[in-house]
């Protein structure tokens, strides 16, 4: 328990040192029917290497927009996003994205989906094969290696989507409500699997969710966002030892605090 807290503290320290991701004074405006919509206003965020950060907020708070800006799928109207100190100009393999709707290539088998990024980047065939084999093993889909996405359950599809960005050497994994479409049992299992993947690698995870419990269960730090215009309103470190007990008193205290931050204090 002490070691866990120490690790979290070290991540906080690292955040102060050289963050892997920096969002600096980012504004984002979209053209809409009735003029412009301000999706994000003056957002600053730094994420340390190896940190697990959850972005949480009501719909319309811009949490997905922020993630897409970091992913390079959108460009900021003002400000900039830095990855390892260099400005982000577009999507790239060092920032792997996991979508809620999976985004697997339906014409490729599980194996080929996992190999896709490595092949696209021209890695040698032997490396492609062994890397894919390793990640198929890690996500426990050896029996389904030659199955096509439409033959898989939602949980299996999301495992493949996670494996393909990890196989492709992503240093940062951006996850946009990745477990939102899954049933409760599958979601809990995938949360556990994600945590063990994260703790066994040096991975940095930025995870968007609207579920308070999920954020407390997973994150080193929870970034709370509010709508109208979208902005960061609080940052809450989670100093609970892992594995976290969802019915423990400190877990529930934190849940209450976050609910108050999100919806206003309870009556």
């Amino acid at each position: 328990m002490a070691a866990e807290t120490l690790m979290a503290d070290r991540r906080q320290l690292a955040a102060a040192g050289s963050p892997v991701l920096q969002v600096q004074a980012v504004h984002k405006r979209f053209a809409a029917a009735g003029g412009e919509v301000e999706a994000l206003r003056a957002v600053d965020l730094a994420v340390a290497r190896g940190e697990f950060v959850c972005l949480i907020g009501a719909s319309g708070c811009g949490k997905s927009t922020l993630l897409r800006l970091i992913g390079g799928f959108e460009t900021p109207s003002e400000g900039q996003v830095l990855m390892d100190g260099r400005p982000v100009t577009g999507p790239g393999p060092e920032r792997g994205m996991v979508f809620q709707d999976y985004g697997l290539f339906p014409w490729l088998s599980v194996r080929r989906n996992i190999e896709f990024g490595l092949v696209a980047r021209g890695r040698p065939r032997a490396e492609v094969r062994t890397t894919a084999e390793r990640f198929i093993e890690i996500i426990g889909l050896a029996r389904f290696a030659d199955a096509y996405p439409h033959q898989l359950s939602g949980g299996m599809k999301q495992r493949v989507a996670i494996a393909r960005v990890l196989a492709n050497d992503a240093a940062v994994v951006l996850m946009d409500e990745p477990f939102g479409a899954l049933d409760a049992m599958t979601r809990e299992r995938l949360q556990d699997e994600l945590l063990s993947l994260w703790s066994s690698t040096g991975l940095t995870v930025l995870f968007v969710t609207h579920a308070i419990e999920e954020a407390i269960l997973l994150a080193d730090r929870i970034v709370v966002m509010s709508p109208g215009p979208g902005r960061i309103t609080a940052e809450v470190p989670v100093r609970l030892a892992r594995p976290r007990d969802v019915v423990s008193v400190p877990f529930n205290d934190l849940r209450r605090d976050l609910a108050a931050l999100l919806h206003g204090p309870a009556p």
Binding site: G71, G72, F73, G90, P91, G92, P93, R95, G96, M97, F99, D101, G103, L104, F105, P106, W107, L108, S109, F116, G117, A120, R121, Y148, P149, H150, R164, V165, N168
Partner: protein, 263 residues
């Protein structure tokens, strides 16, 4: 809708044709020499056309030569259409400049039916089998072209994002994402095109050629051999069905990944 389990699908599919046959038989039973021949007479004529009976009239044994002539025009015209429509469809779907240049013209020509083109084709290309072949080409052209364009233009946008974040460059998007995504649309176009080719071939063979199933039907009508006409119709139906099955087989193999196509 799903059929109830336990009823073999082959049996179900046979119910309607059997009823039609019974109706036909019932309606012509008392008129062996009427305008409409009896089913048995048509079967008899079909076997004679195939050269299995020795009736020795002018149609006896001519089925295979006519079927071969029509097949050559159908598949020749189909291949020619595919060779032109596939690359053109990919270009129109992918390149905005080409789309803006050609889309208007193609949409304007599309409603003109093959039958309306036939007189012009006869003037331009003369009497002969290449005019029939070109009519088939024209008939196949639009289904293949439009479905290819549709396939290219309707790639799931998420897949471009997924490919981009995995390291696929803009230039590589076409072979890596667009082409495989468009394949089901392309196959739909090929299937519709080949089906339409068998429709058009009869129109193409009505005038100007002496061989082919269309020519055979036209000749038979002129000498009031309705049994030959119907036997010819059945042959066209069977040939179209078999070539459709061939395309289906190919698409089941190539589109195993697609829940709508894979067998």
């Amino acid at each position: 809708m799903e059929t109830r389990a336990g009823t073999p699908p082959g049996l179900l599919a046979a119910v309607f044709p059997a009823a039609l046959l019974a109706l036909w038989w019932g309606a012509t039973r008392d008129a062996p020499d009427g305008l409409i021949p009896q089913p048995g007479q048509v079967l008899h004529e079909f076997l004679d056309l195939a050269g299995l009976l020795g009736n020795n009239d002018s149609f006896s044994g001519t089925l295979w030569a006519n079927l071969l002539a029509s097949s050559e025009r159908v598949f020749g015209g189909f291949l020619l259409a595919a060779v032109v429509a596939l690359p053109l469809g990919l270009l129109i779907g992918q390149v905005l400049l080409v789309r803006r240049m050609l889309d208007g013209t193609l949409q304007l020509l599309r409603p003109v039916p093959v039958t309306a083109w036939q007189p012009l084709f006869l003037i331009l290309f003369g009497l002969g089998s290449h005019t029939a072949l070109l009519l088939v080409t024209l008939g196949c052209f639009y289904p293949i072209l439009l479905n290819t364009v549709f396939g290219v233009r309707n790639v799931e946008p998420r897949l471009f994002e997924a490919a981009a974040m995995l390291g696929v460059s803009r230039a590589a998007m076409f072979p890596k994402v667009v082409l495989p995504s468009a394949l089901p649309g392309i196959f739909t176009g090929l299937r519709l095109g080949l089906g339409f080719a068998w429709v058009v071939i009869v129109v193409g063979e009505i005038s100007g050629v002496s061989t082919g199933l269309g020519a055979m039907i036209t000749d038979a009508r002129e000498v009031s051999r309705t049994d030959v006409v119907i036997a010819g119709m059945v042959t066209i139906g069977l040939a179209g069905f078999l070539s459709d099955q061939a395309i289906l087989l190919a698409s089941r193999r190539l589109l195993r990944w697609s829940p709508q196509h894979g067998g």
